[in-house]
């Protein structure tokens, strides 16, 4: 069933609606996305502690943590993670909050599947671009600031290991 390729998008899907998580994950996997699921905030944080994700799709309203808190905590450990907020709710205050904390986008349920898929891809692409830019900057800084070739190689390895996770 899993058609994930080595460069497949790593997605964390967080929603307390198990039916949604199950079937949405299935459909996304069919589109070649590597999907991990969580049905509450804690599961989501646990999953993110073990693995790195490109994109998270997070429901705004959950029993333990609300989506905004989940996003905040995920991003703390994985700053390049892009988050798509899903909401059945029209409250613009939450949406505004999501924007302020750099959610990639928020989508009103019921969403259009193709639109969601497209946004996930866009988010992943954006993440990759940001990450490359960041890597390039860091590397340039490193090269400019280090005179010893050995140090440079060691630092490069360390940096590569840091990002290689991704």
């Amino acid at each position: 069933m899993t058609e994930a390729k080595p460069d497949a998008i790593r997605l964390l899907l967080v929603d307390d609606e198990e039916d949604l998580v199950t079937f949405l994950a299935h459909r996304l996997r069919k589109r070649g996305i590597e999907v991990a699921v969580a049905v509450n905030g804690q599961q989501a944080l646990d999953a993110a502690a073990a693995r790195t994700f490109d994109v998270a799709v997070v429901d705004l309203k959950m029993p333990d943590f609300d989506g905004i808190t989940v996003m905040e905590r995920l991003k703390k450990n994985q700053p390049f993670l892009e988050v798509l907020m899903l909401t059945g709710h029209g409250s613009h205050d939450s949406a505004w909050e999501a924007g302020r904390l750099h959610a990639f986008r928020y989508l009103l349920k019921p969403y259009d599947f193709d639109e969601l898929h497209g946004l996930i891809e866009q988010a992943a692409t954006q993440r990759r671009q940001k990450l490359s830019a960041e890597f390039a900057t860091r590397l340039a800084d490193l090269m400019a600031g280090t005179t010893s070739a050995r140090d440079l190689i060691e630092e490069c390895d360390r940096l590569r290991r840091e990002y290689e996770q991704d």
Binding site: D19, F23, G88, H89, H92, Y111
Partner: protein, 621 residues
């Protein structure tokens, strides 16, 4: 008076003069009619001699005439001359007999004098003890007596006034006044009344005096004075006068207050016919006083029956209040009032007048209703957003599963029979469509919540109206609606929220199209009129659709009140319009002729409200 001649007259004069101890008769004049002897004797006894002839008597009057001659001519002339006098007969013997009779009469007189003395005594006792101020003065107006009551009232001692005149007792003005009326009494010998002011015990005393002359020997010998202290009477009269003045002043003041009050105040008689109508009522109801005075007050009310009931209650209980009653102005405006009726009863306890006080609370009631509406909308907004959320989640699941089945059919459906694959594919498409339909509803429920993002900017109203019409271009074209714009040139721009205003106009235009589509066969005509009116602009939107029944007119702005066919209206549109306008400081009214036309009149302020109206829709959900 003795009249006679010769020695006989002389004897008589001597006899009378020697008898004074026996009789008090006194000879006061003698006329000697022939002999000097009588005259000489008269002189001897000190009696004045008038003359020697009868003619010398002149105007002298006489009570008793003694005649010693038997001359009938003389006698008859004496009788003519003194018709009231007693003529005592002729001859010596007759004279003596006459004298004897005279003595008897004198005794009777002495008895009378004794009675008179007793009467005087009693009178004096009465005067002394009478509970009224009495004084007695002699002909020179010196006090002869003043009774105890008078001394007490006037604060005088008898010793200090006896034998004195008023000048010694009262200040100049008071003494002169009293003396003047007393002198008048003596002069006219008549009882007189007078009122004046005296000084007594250092204070001003108003008195009323009654003066009786004492007549002695036909002359005023003095007077009795009866004095009443009228100070209290005078003061209470004064007080009454002052009270009366104050009352008049108060009445004038009250009348002015009533007249100039901005509240409506009118009086009716117990039947409810208007007696008065103040300027506040004239202004509020646009009637002139003359038009309504005399007509029944209940005709001013939107529901006369209710007023009559209230009136009956006030007649019974004396007072009645209606907290929200509706009056109708001359131009058929509804004026919502707090009406208070108070019955005024006459001294006989019967209903006399009804005071009707009506305070115009239209604005307050409208504002209150707007707030209630707004709050209700907020509550519904909260509920709607909650419901929408709860429904959106399962809808998302359904749609996701539907999509999954649809994809699977597409990718792997060749194992199914073509018919099965076909019907399942169509089923999934329909499922998707139905989810879309639900989504439209839930999103529209959430819509007005999301639209609470506000931003004020300069409004070009005509451009905004055109944009709103553009949103509905499909509907307008489909219904073949002709749009007539009656735009006032150079309409001032103003600050407001363009997104919210657009929502208002789109809603109103959409309603107009729906109303006109409900009348098949009539060419749809939408007329939009703008005008600047003082501090506000108005937009009238008139359609020639089904119109609005009178009973719906007040309710169409209520939440969930829709007059559209089932499934066409949510009952949200006009409630949202109303709420938005309320929040922007504007208002909306409606007029309609059912079956022919409906007109919505939107009013917007050129200056946005200083303090923004409560904004319940942006409350956190």
């Amino acid at each position: 008076m003795l009249v006679g001649d010769g020695p006989l007259l002389a004897d008589l004069v001597t006899a009378l003069a020697s008898l004074p101890r026996v009789t008090p008769l006194r000879v006061f004049a003698v006329i000697d009619l022939g002999a000097a002897e009588g005259a000489a004797r008269a002189r001897e006894h000190g009696v004045p001699l008038v003359g020697t002839r009868l003619d010398d008597l002149g105007a002298t009057e006489a009570d008793l005439v003694l005649v010693t001659t038997a001359d009938p001519d003389l006698e008859s002339s004496l009788v003519r001359r003194f018709p009231d006098a007693r003529i005592v007969g002729a001859g010596h013997r007759a004279l003596l007999e006459g004298l004897g009779r005279l003595g008897d009469e004198n005794r009777a007189l002495r008895l009378d004098s004794h009675r008179l003395k007793e009467t005087r005594l009693r009178l004096n006792q009465f005067v002394e003890t009478a509970p009224m101020a009495i004084y007695i003065k002699d002909r020179d107006l010196r006090y002869r007596k003043m009774n105890a009551h008078a001394l007490n009232v006037l604060g005088l001692r008898e010793a200090a006034i006896l034998g004195r005149t008023d000048h010694a007792i009262y200040p100049g003005g008071a003494a002169r006044w009293l003396q003047r009326v007393e002198q008048e009494t003596l002069r006219t010998r008549q009882t007189l009344h007078a009122s004046g002011v005296l000084q007594a015990k250092g204070e001003t005393m108003h008195v009323h005096v009654t003066l009786f002359p004492v007549i002695e020997d036909g002359e005023a010998a003095g007077l009795y004075g009866l004095m009443e202290d009228t100070t209290e009477l005078f003061e209470s009269a004064q007080k009454l006068h002052r009270v009366d003045e104050q009352l008049t002043e108060t009445q004038t003041y009250l009348r002015e207050v009533l007249e100039n009050s901005r509240d409506m105040i009118f009086l009716t008689d117990p039947r409810g016919l208007l007696l008065s109508f103040n300027s506040g009522a004239e202004q509020a109801l646009a009637y002139s006083r003359d038009e309504v005075v005399g007509t029944p007050a209940h005709t001013l009310c939107a529901s006369p029956g209710e007023f009559e009931k209230l009136f009956a209650t006030a007649l019974r209980d004396g007072h009645a209040v209606a907290y929200e009653a509706e009056l109708r102005s001359r131009d058929r405006r509804a004026v919502i009032c707090n009406i208070s009726l108070t019955l005024i009863k006459g001294p006989d306890g019967r209903a006399q007048e009804m005071v009707c006080l009506c305070r115009d609370i239209t604005t307050r009631v409208r504002l209150k209703n707007d707030l209630i509406r707004s709050e209700r909308l907020a509550a519904v907004g909260q509920m709607a957003s909650g419901v929408a959320h709860e429904i959106n989640n399962p809808l998302a699941v359904i749609d996701t599963i539907g999509g999954l089945v649809e994809e699977t059919l597409r990718d792997e459906g060749d194992r199914l029979s073509p018919e099965t694959r076909e019907i399942l594919t169509r089923a999934m498409q329909r499922l998707h469509a139905q989810v879309q339909r639900c989504t439209t509803i839930t999103h529209s429920l959430l819509g007005f919540v999301r639209n609470a993002q506000r931003g004020m900017s300069e409004i070009d109203l005509h451009a905004l109206i055109d944009e709103s019409l553009n949103v509905l271009v499909t509907e307008l074209r489909r219904s073949g609606t002709e749009v007539n714009r009656h735009f006032q040139p150079d309409l001032p721009h103003f600050r407001s929220d363009p997104t919210m205003l657009q929502q208002v106009f789109v809603n109103l235009f959409k309603n107009a199209v729906d109303a006109m589509e409900a009348v098949p066969g009539r060419a749809s005509l939408l007329e939009i009129t703008t005008a600047a009116d003082g501090a506000q602009v108005t937009v009238q939107i008139q359609d020639n659709g089904v119109g609005i029944a009178p009973e719906d007119r007040d309710r169409i702005f209520d939440l969930f009140h829709t007059i559209k066919p089932v499934g066409r209206g949510t009952g949200l549109g006009l409630a949202i319009v109303h709420d938005i306008l309320f929040r922007l400081g504007g208002s909306i009214r409606v007029a309609s002729e059912p079956g022919r036309w409906a007109r919505f009149i939107v009013t917007l302020p050129l200056e946005p409200p200083e303090t923004p109206r409560p904004d319940p829709l942006s409350l956190k959900m």
